[in-house]
Every structure is written in structure tokens, then in C-alpha cells.
């Protein structure tokens, strides 16, 4: 049978998915092995056990200077910033997205502005944010909001505009007011797209979070990575990168699960990523 007509079983699919990860891991281990053959004190590609040890040290040994368990403190601070930023972005996306998508006057008034605003490279206004909001939490959260909200707004307004006109008219013939249509038709049908928009928005959100923490911060995953860079501490940087990736992956999967549980009607036809 043609390969395009064959489907892997559950176990096969799982093992196939694991394969590239194993490939990278093995390639790293081999490269690290040969570098350390030449120089046992090599810092660029530390051995996997060294990396594991460094990760455990960050997670389960109190920092000598501050007495904190650094990995967890960093994780909490970063997730708090990321979460606050995304909650604000989500609220803005819902409010503006539904207005732009549903009300033609709001669309005329706001859509060009949002489109323009979304093209500003957010990182270029980071200095402005630091000047206005200081070096505290607000400027970092604002960077995440500015970086993610405009795209999410456009995502949501498009989703609202994609709702077939027939449904809006049907609701009108059933006696719905504008507000009732928003509450019962537009919002419920947009929420799955909102989750999709959040999942997409999280990608740049992590970038802006790490950037902001790298430039001006005293805690957070991004701060730690850029701090230990000075000592060439690849044994800390690499597990931190893996940890951030894992967090991002878990958040993404949870959101997907939420969408499937909360909006079964949206996932009735076809498989989605």
C-alpha cells in the first residue's frame, strides 16, 4: 500500500515522535564526548550528567547568597509576568476584536490603527516603556501586551467576520438585540478562536518576556540565562532553555485540551493541531 494511505498505530506514532528528540540528544552527547576528550574542562558542550547535576542544583539547593531555590523563583516570576501580560492581551483582543469584527463603524475607526500599531517592532519601544514605567514589572508586562495584543485583535476580528452572515440574520429574526447577539452568538463562537489566538500569541510573548528580563531584571528565567552567560555556564543555560521550552509546550497542550473540553462542537469535524 502507498505510504500516503497508511496510518501509524498509537505506539508507532509515539516512537516516531520520540525519534527526532533522541537524534538531537545523541548528536549532542557524541559532540560533547569528543570535545571533552580534547579538553576535560570544556565549558561549551558540558556532558549530559553535568547538565543534569546543574539543573538539580538550581532546583533543589538553596542559593548560597539569597537562600532561594533559584529555578522555582525564576519560573514563578516569569510565569507571573507572562500570565499577566497574556490576560491583559486576551481582554484587549476580545473587546477590540469583537467591536471591529461586528460593528462596521468600529471597524472603520479602529482597524487601520490596529493594523499600523501591530507593525511597530515591539522591542523598539522597550526603551520608551522603561522610561515611562521604570524598570519594574509594569514595563515588562507592557512589552508582552504590546507585542501580542495587536495580532490577537486581528485574529479575533477576523474570526468574528468569518461567522456566516446568515447566523447573524437568523438571530435578528429571533429577536436578538446587539448585546444579546454578542453574548450568545458572537462570543461563544469566537472563544475557540480566542484560545487559538492565545496559543499563537504565546510564541512572541515568551520572546518579549525573555528579552525584557535579559535587559533589566533581577529575577526570571531570561534574567538567569543572561546572568550565567558571563561565566559561560552552558550547564545552566541549556537546561533552562529546555525548561522554558517544556513550560511553553505544557501551556500549549493545556490550552488545546481546554478548547476540546469546553468547545466540543468546534472540534467535531477534522483533526486540528
Amino acid at each position: 500500500m502507498r505510504i500516503t494511505n497508511r496510518k501509524p498505530g498509537r505506539t508507532t506514532a509515539f516512537l516516531l515522535g520520540l525519534l527526532p528528540f533522541l537524534g538531537v540528544l545523541i548528536a549532542y552527547a557524541v559532540a560533547s564526548h569528543y570535545r571533552r576528550l580534547e579538553n576535560p574542562a570544556d565549558k561549551l558542550l558540558p556532558s549530559l550528567p553535568d547538565i543534569g547535576a546543574a539543573f538539580l542544583r538550581m532546583a533543589f539547593e538553596a542559593d548560597r547568597r539569597s537562600g532561594n531555590y533559584l529555578l522555582w523563583v525564576d519560573t514563578w516570576d516569569s510565569l507571573w509576568r507572562l500570565g499577566s501580560g497574556m490576560i491583559i492581551s486576551t481582554a484587549i483582543a476580545l473587546l477590540l476584536g469583537i467591536s471591529i469584527g461586528f460593528v462596521a463603524h468600529a471597524r472603520s475607526g479602529l482597524a487601520p490603527f490596529v493594523a499600523t500599531f501591530s507593525l511597530i517592532p515591539p522591542i523598539t519601544i522597550l526603551p520608551v516603556l522603561f522610561i515611562i514605567f521604570g524598570l519594574g514589572e509594569v514595563s515588562k508586562i507592557m512589552l508582552i501586551v504590546i507585542g501580542t495584543a495587536p495580532v490577537m485583535v486581528r485574529c479575533i476580528s477576523q474570526a468574528v467576520m468569518d461567522i456566516p452572515r446568515e447566523m447573524i440574520i437568523k438571530a435578528e429574526t429571533l429577536g436578538a438585540s446587539v448585546w444579546q447577539m454578542v453574548a450568545r452568538i458572537i462570543l461563544p463562537q469566537t472563544l475557540p478562536n480566542l484560545i487559538a489566538a492565545v496559543r499563537l500569541g504565546l510564541v512572541p510573548a515568551w520572546i518579549f518576556l525573555v528579552s525584557a528580563e535579559a535587559i533589566a531584571s533581577t529575577s526570571g528565567l531570561g534574567y538567569r540565562i543572561f546572568l550565567v552567560r558571563r561565566y559561560l555556564a552552558m550547564d545552566v543555560i541549556l537546561p533552562y532553555v529546555a525548561w522554558i521550552t517544556l513550560l511553553a509546550f505544557v501551556i500549549d497542550r493545556l490550552l488545546r485540551l481546554l478548547s476540546r473540553r469546553a468547545f466540543p462542537w468546534h472540534h467535531l469535524d477534522g483533526d486540528s493541531l
Binding site: P164, E166, T173, G175
Partner: protein
């Protein structure tokens, strides 16, 4: 049986820019009529229905409903069933049916909670039974067949007891056996509720079988150098009183196009 004129259309026209769709449509429709609308593709029969629904604004002329000009936007006095997208995919069958009463009762949330929701769901049991969807009451529309979806759409459109029911090729996507069942359902509801029905269809047999009056839309004038210069109008207005089964002999010859089902 001369019932009062319910819908009065005078010199109605519709154009998109230079493209004239409808012109000089004049029509009086009495209450309780079942008008079937046929015509070639692109002759403006769906546009005519959209004008009756106030989904579009006429370029010229007037439509009066019960002596008053038609409201400028869709209202509950005119129900609509489209070929697709008529029901709400995020609501279960029974929630699709209680939606209209929720809109009426809850001004801000548009939603029943707890006991009142349970009660509202009970009130639609009879409707569900009539349209044969009782076993599917908790399912989402995407889990229903095309025929079941359209039965739901018709029942939903009738929840506000509209004076006029507009149907835009409601059975176009259904297979012939299901279609016959839908005809029975629709005729039963029409007789029971004594409403006026406008139904656009491509199926000429369906038009003859269901209607008490058939409106044929076509372009009377045609300029080969400017095909969009003239619009369509009602070219034949056939009363179909004592028929119900087959095409009257010879009637096919006068029809501009023979639409195939």
C-alpha cells in the same frame, strides 16, 4: 377566498452599481399564500427574498407589510431558513430552539439559568417530537444529517410565530426521499400556523407541489451589448389553486428555463 393583501410591492428595483438586478416588480400577496419563486440562476430571486427580509435595501420602490413600510432591518415578524448556516453550531438541538425565548426573557444575559432553563427545554419537547428530533435533542447540529438540520432550522424559524416565513432553497442540498418528508412537514406547519410563505427553489416540481402561487423571475428585455442593463422582474404569476401533484400539461413550455432538481 379573497383574503386581505398582506404584502404590497410597488415598482421595486435593486441594483449593485451599474448592475441592475431587479426592476419594476409589482406584487400583491394575500395573507396565507404559499408563493414559490423560480427562475434561472442569477435572475434575482434570492435578492428578492433578501429584500423581503430587509437584509438588503431596495434601490427604488416600496414594500409594505400589513400597510406599513418594511422595517429597515430583519425583525421577528419575518422568519428565515437558509440553505446553510441557519442553525447555531455551538448550541445543542434543544438550546437552538429555546434561544428565541431566552432573547425575549433575559434582556442582558440572553440566557436562562438553572430551573428556568430546564423548564424552557421542557416546553420545546412537543416541537422536537413533531420534527422527529427528540432522540437527538442533546446533539450539536454538526452531528445531525442535512435533513435533520433543516427540520431544526424550520422549527427554530417558527419559534417567534412569524407572519411571513422566507425560505431560500431550504431543501436544495437534500436527497429526494428526505425532500418529500420535508414537504409534508412544511405543508403541515403552513396550514397549522396560517402564515404567508415565500420559497425560492430550483426544483420546478417542488414549486408546483407546494405553492398556491408561483412567481417566475426572468429578464424581459435583454441587450446583448450590455447584459446588465436590464433587471429581472416577475414574468409569470401563476395561481396554483386546485393542483397539488403534477405539472399542468404544457406549462413547461412557457417557463424560461427548465431547472433540474
Amino acid at each position: 377566498m379573497t383574503a386581505a393583501v398582506q404584502i404590497r410591492i410597488r415598482d421595486l428595483s435593486l441594483s449593485y452599481g451599474d448592475c441592475l438586478i431587479l426592476e419594476r416588480v409589482n406584487l400583491d400577496v394575500e395573507k396565507g399564500a404559499f408563493c414559490t419563486i423560480v427562475g434561472a440562476s442569477g435572475c434575482g430571486k434570492s435578492s428578492f427574498l433578501r429584500l423581503l427580509l430587509s437584509q438588503e435595501t431596495p434601490t427604488g420602490g416600496t414594500i409594505e407589510l400589513d400597510g406599513r413600510p418594511l422595517p429597515p432591518e430583519p425583525t421577528p415578524d419575518r422568519g428565515i431558513v437558509f440553505q446553510r448556516y441557519s442553525v447555531f453550531p455551538h448550541l445543542s438541538v434543544e438550546d437552538n430552539l429555546i434561544l428565541a425565548s431566552e432573547f425575549e426573557a433575559a434582556r442582558w444575559t440572553g440566557r436562562f439559568f438553572g430551573e428556568s432553563r430546564k423548564a424552557a427545554r421542557e416546553t420545546v419537547s412537543e416541537t422536537l417530537e413533531k420534527i422527529g428530533l427528540t432522540p437527538a435533542r442533546h446533539r450539536f447540529p454538526a452531528q445531525l444529517s442535512g435533513g435533520m438540520q433543516q427540520r431544526l432550522a424550520i422549527a427554530q424559524a417558527l419559534m417567534k410565530k412569524p407572519d411571513v416565513l422566507l425560505l431560500d432553497e431550504p431543501f436544495g442540498a437534500l436527497d429526494p426521499g428526505i425532500r418529500a418528508d420535508m414537504h409534508e412537514l412544511l405543508l403541515g406547519l403552513w396550514e397549522e400556523l396560517s402564515m404567508t410563505v415565500f420559497m425560492v427553489t430550483h426544483d420546478i416540481n417542488e414549486a408546483f407541489k407546494l405553492g398556491t402561487r408561483m412567481l417566475v423571475f426572468d429578464r424581459l428585455r435583454h441587450d446583448p451589448h450590455a447584459p446588465e442593463a436590464y433587471g429581472a422582474t416577475v414574468t409569470y404569476d401563476l395561481p396554483l389553486t386546485n393542483k397539488r401533484n403534477s405539472l399542468p400539461p404544457g406549462v413547461e413550455d412557457i417557463l424560461p428555463t427548465r431547472a433540474t432538481p
